[in-house]
Amino acid sequence: MTPVIRIDGVTKRFGDVVALDGVSLDIFENEFLALLGPSGCGKTTLLRAVAGLETPDTGHIFIDNRSQDGLAPYERPVNMMFQSYALFPHMTVAGNVAFGLKQDGLRGAELAERVREALARVEMESFADRKPQHLSGGQKQRAALARCLAKRPRALLLDEPLAALDKHLRERTQLELMTLRERLGITFVVVTHDQDEAMGMASRVAVMEKGRLLQVGSPRDLYERPDNRAVAGFFGHMNLWDGTVSTGDTVTCAVGAVSAATSLPAGTPVALAVRPEQIVLHAAGATPDSGQLAGTIADVVYGGTVSTYFVAHGATRIRVVRQNGAGPALERGQAVVLSWPVSAVRVLPS
């Protein structure tokens, strides 16, 4: 399958700051890809490079197998929705949508029909004659979306599309973007710093840090099978223990010798990662099959459906999440035994 967008070894420096450091990424037809990372990780620069608003220092960007080197933003078959929406303040909503179509030479009835169609898609027909300053935040976002979609781009690039919306609108808009993408069959690339947003919307997530791609995969892949510490720590909570590989599929770490599936040679420094919900709590004296560890409950945080337990084992605090009502109530100070399946232990490079 040929990708819609191929990013090939793109590097970009701003003075001494490396915004993108050899990023390669294929984005495929009909997918909803999220570029996720903290602010300053280079995700917006990458999006702008695809749109043609930044020129890479090295590397190339291909759209539909065609090199975009030297092509200006107005020559590229992708459109971008800006974080600020960047609506033209001196034009009405309809004028904003028509602007891009007029650049393609559309006039008269055909132009009017395409504008109407784009506004209908985001339910903004009744606001066609309003100026942007008389729109709410959500309406501005829809107008900006309609302006991009009217151009029927090969891919739609969205820079923090939900950041400017208030919380309850954000959830609704997230669902709307997903349905819209499915109905149109256009590739969406969205930049976000919010992991819940990325996990909830995207079919694939590319995690970035300091200008590099850390890992690309489905939300489930990233959560259950992180490749490195940064990704493991980025989504949800993770118990991370530094250690070294001993012989016989065991890793010696802060909590003792732990069984783990690894083919690394003995002596390799690694980090072990175990999700809090994979750990089972037993009353003291129990003898579970695997991964036994004794400890004392240091803290309990009640959270309705689930509670979070912090279990002290020596100097290490282990985070455990348990469904409420799944067993006898456990109190602070109580001695417990922890267990987990070997498959729950992920061995990461330290």
């Binding site: 200006a72 933003p73 800006f82 974080q83 033209f88 891009g100 650049q103």
Partner: protein
């Protein structure tokens, strides 16, 4: 805030110092007497006499023509300079360019006037077919120093305007020229208006530079006022001065209004 009496007094004295002379000119322009310093009664005779003075009327026409033409030229050149300064990044020679743009504001007027006169004389010697000194040379001279003001206004306006709106236009398929004419220009229109009005007022008020570069047939209003005062002050000049003050005040008010509208348009 608590009022401090002597601050109010100082403020009053300052305002009086600035505006009493102007007020005196305006009041005495309605004086019936031929003597400028003796009040004999209210009259508008000097205004009607002013309207009948062909020399002054001709000078007014010259000043207005020069003002309109030089302000328009200054807006075109100044906008280009301001745009380059705020949108072209760190191009080679940017420092020299930005200094050169604002230099006319700090160079003494006498020097500017003299250097322009020398330039025009030399130009005509080399290219004899050029018309002699007149309205055209005053327009060029005025535009050369008022464009600095326009450039600063436009640069400030563009600096306060996010680039993403222009980038969005480019992303939607507009070529740079279309982005400039359809997006940038309409968004900075109030600043263009303010710049034009300021350039017009500066041109209308200028005496020194105009005196250097004017020809025999092109006398501006300030030049008429100045030369007639040397022959003794006529109340007619008071009337003219009152009209000039009023026109300047109205135009500056409009410029401030345009600038404020521009600021509010920007969210």
């Amino acid at each position: 805030m608590k009022r401090i009496p002597w601050l109010t007094v100082a403020l009053g004295a300052g305002i009086a110092f600035l505006y009493l002379p102007l007020a005196a000119v305006i009041v005495y322009s309605f004086n019936a007497s031929r003597l400028v310093t003796v009040w004999t009664g209210f009259s508008t005779v000097w205004y009607s006499e002013l309207m009948g003075d062909r020399q002054i009327m001709a000078a007014a026409a010259t000043s207005l023509t020069v003002g309109v033409l030089s302000a328009t030229l200054a807006v075109i050149v100044g906008t280009a300079a301001g745009y380059a300064l705020s949108r072209f990044g760190a191009f080679r020679g940017r420092w020299l360019f930005s200094t050169a743009v604002v230099a006319p504001m700090v160079v003494p007027e006498v020097i500017t006037g003299l250097s322009l006169l020398l330039l025009f004389v030399a130009a005509q010697e080399m290219l004899p077919f050029l018309p002699g000194r007149g309205i055209a040379t005053i327009v060029l001279a005025h535009a050369s120093f008022t464009m600095a003001t326009v450039a600063l206004i436009i640069q400030a306006r563009l600096a306060g305007m996010e680039r993403d709106v222009e980038e969005a236009a480019s992303d939607l398929g507009a070529r740079p020229f279309t982005v400039f004419t359809r997006i940038t220009l309409p968004m900075i229109a109030p600043a263009l208006g303010a710049g034009w009005l300021l350039a017009f007022v500066l041109s209308l008020d200028d005496l020194v530079i105009a005196s250097f570069v004017a020809g025999p047939q092109s006398t501006t209003l300030p030049m008429v006022v100045y030369s007639s005062i040397r022959l003794g002050v006529s109340p007619k000049i008071n009337a003219l001065a009152a009209l000039l003050v009023a026109a300047t005040a109205v135009l500056l008010g409009l410029a401030a209004l345009a600038a404020r509208r521009g600021a509010s348009l920007q969210r």
